[in-house]
């Protein structure tokens, strides 16, 4: 199987196809596709934290909620346009996430999980009970999205906004993980002692990854609000969190492709099983367990081992280096 050629063509055609699709789909299908792209953003954010950096933190769904509410409230209460409200949603989530992280970073690993869980519950409680601001369980309606006076209502116009944001954040994410920061995250996950003795400031790195992950969660939440047009506090609790976890574990930890794969698999499924929450829970729960037991690096991991997916080495332009090394080696061989 000429996988390299296939990879090349997928890379070339991916964006053009996504740009063309909205012309051929009905509203519902496009809505699902939009959700998938949103969960790609959410998944990448969680993958930074749980996958690359190995930090077991439970606040991701709550931070998504903060992003959603920030975006919704800025647009409905303060009449901000979406292209200001959305980035600010990311920033809001980033600030809260960093605040949560500050004490949590220094603690024993199990405490990180607990503190972030406690914070997540606290955030949810605030979203429900701070009625003057968040309107509590009544939920918040967003005004129609506008760009230069043109209304962008509907799943098809929104698709382009979401695609633009998701694609940009994906490329950004790629660059982050192939930088010294990305490598430091994995070092941090696997062996803090080696990381420290190699000059990595572990505390600072942890803070940065929490901030980054929270930013992505916030943007994901903002996009979610834009796509749905209406949000309630309920949607950002434990159920949402397990969706996030399942997404990255099933898709593949420590992998950009994994976030995409996980988003596709895990968005399609709940839509099909929408009326059967209990069935969703059972499937998610057991699938998570089975993957952890038998396929801990997820579908992406399997794909990389079998060659269906390219290697993900956290080094910029590593293929050029490999080329140079191979030609150097064959030169040496000829001597």
């Amino acid at each position: 199987m000429p996988w390299d050629t296939i990879h090349l063509w997928v890379r070339r055609l991916f964006i053009p196809i996504l740009l063309a699709i909205p012309f051929f789909t009905d509203r519902y299908v496009q809505y699902v596709l939009n959700l998938i792209m949103i969960y790609v953003v959410v998944g990448i954010g969680l993958n930074f934290l749980l996958g690359y950096a190995g930090q077991f933190a439970f606040a991701h769904a709550a931070l998504m909620g903060i992003g959603a509410y920030a975006c919704a409230l800025l647009m409905s209460r303060l009449a901000f346009p979406f292209w200001i409200a959305l980035p600010m949603a990311g920033v809001a989530a980033m600030l809260v996430g960093s605040l949560v992280a500050l004490p949590a970073m220094r603690m024993k690993r199990v405490y990180l999980a607990l503190v972030t869980l406690a914070f997540a519950e606290l955030i949810q409680w605030i979203l429900i009970h701070w009625k003057t601001v968040t309107l509590g369980t009544d939920g918040v309606s967003l005004p129609p999205t506008q760009l230069f006076g043109y209304k962008l209502t509907g799943d098809h116009p929104m698709a382009y906004v979401i695609l633009f944001v998701a694609a940009t954040l994906y490329v950004l994410g790629q660059r982050v993980v192939t930088s010294r920061f990305g490598r430091a995250l994995v070092a941090l996950r696997e062996n803090e002692i080696v990381a420290q003795c190699s000059g990595i400031n572990v505390t600072k790195t942890k803070l940065y990854v929490f901030a980054l992950s929270s930013f992505y969660a916030g943007i994901g939440g903002g996009l979610f609000a834009l796509a749905l047009g209406f949000i309630v506090p309920d949607g950002f609790g434990l159920f949402q969190l397990v969706v996030h976890f399942s997404l990255v574990v099933i898709g593949g930890l420590i992998s950009m492709y994994g976030s995409v794969i996980g988003a596709v698999v895990l968005t399609a499924l709940p839509e099909l099983l929408r009326d059967f929450q209990w069935l969703q829970e059972i499937i998610y729960g057991f699938t998570l367990v089975i993957f952890i037991l038998f396929m801990p690096d997820g579908i992406a991991g399997l794909g990389k081992r079998k060659g269906w997916l390219p290697r993900e080495i956290l080094v910029r332009n590593w293929r050029d280096l490999e080329q140079r090394q191979r030609s150097h080696a064959s030169q040496e061989g000829r001597k």
């Binding site: 190995g54 405490y111 397990v242 209990w278």
Partner: protein, 291 residues
């Protein structure tokens, strides 16, 4: 509501939290696993007791025993099936498995019990609240405290005096050493889980009367149990108990004097504040790393 009434109610709740915390600490000390599914164990206990009592028609005591045995078995089976093979994995892996199980268990419980809210009658449904000085306390609360104390004492005795208990303590302290001495560590692990889950199931039945039964009920108690274990440093059993009682009382006092809306949230705030100030808990010790 005066302070003493609230305090007594808080101690009753705290006793339940203590049972949950005990189970968490037991499992953590033995296998370094944080069991995020422990709330669901409690929920299963409650529903098992309910099924025995309301549906099968057994008496209260028998239902209690049914719940304890059911949860104990569940714990042992879960350990054997899932955690035996994961013993050497990354702690994230282990924790994630418990998260997944927690979800699956909730879904499973929803099949028979998802459609409605269920109630469990108290042991003595016609009993009047008892007056102790200025305070009023329900008989059920007193029973809860008494049972919790009884269980904790039995556990304490078990660990100190019986051979099996000593074997479990040995395995906790030094796994390799225990193996060398010939202790069947696999059996110890199963028994630890069984014991931890049995206590959790007991808590589930005890809280039945004071709460509605529904599949999501476990989450709240899990967090309170965590909060208690965290206060105790997650390594110390007495610490967890003290922590649990503290949380139960603080909750009720906040709920009584500030507002009921803040009652549940106060436990979470306690976790956050305590960990800010003392990252290793009230009784915990900073771990020593060897390279």
């Amino acid at each position: 509501m005066d302070a003493l009434t609230l305090t007594l109610a808080g101690i009753a709740n705290g006793s339940l939290y203590a049972l949950v915390a005990l189970g968490l600490v037991l499992i953590y000390k033995t296998q370094d696993v944080v069991n995020f599914a422990h709330g669901e164990v409690l929920m299963f206990g409650a529903f098992a007791g309910y099924t025995a009592y309301r549906i099968v028609g057994l008496d209260y005591m028998s239902s209690f025993l049914v719940a304890i045995v059911f949860c104990g078995l569940l714990g042992a089976v879960t350990e054997r099936l899932f955690f035996r093979r994961l013993a050497h994995h990354h702690h994230i892996t282990l924790a994630m498995v418990t998260v997944g199980l927690s979800f699956a268990f909730k879904g499973l419980a929803r099949v028979p019990f998802g459609a409605d809210l269920y109630t469990f009658p108290p042991l003595f449904p016609d009993a009047q609240p008892i007056q102790i000085g200025q305070a009023i306390v329900t008989l059920q609360n007193l029973i809860t405290i008494a049972v919790a104390v009884a269980l904790t004492t039995m556990l304490f005795v078990f660990f100190r005096i019986t051979t099996l208990g000593k074997q479990m303590r040995a395995t906790q302290q030094n796994l390799l050493g225990a193996k060398f001495v010939g202790i069947n560590t696999g059996r110890v692990f199963s028994l630890t889980w069984a014991l931890a889950c049995a206590i959790g199931g007991a808590a589930g039945v005890l809280l039945g009367p004071s709460s509605l039964l529904y599949p999501d009920m476990g989450g709240n108690f899990l967090l309170k149990g965590f909060a208690a274990a965290v206060l105790g440093g997650f390594e110390s059993v007495p610490g967890a108990i003290v922590g649990a009682l503290l949380i139960g009382v603080i909750e009720k006092l906040v709920g009584g004097y500030v507002s009921t809306a803040f009652e549940h949230i106060s436990a979470y705030c306690v976790i956050i504040i305590v960990l800010f100030v003392r990252p290793y808990g009230l009784f915990g010790v900073k771990p020593i790393h060897r390279v």
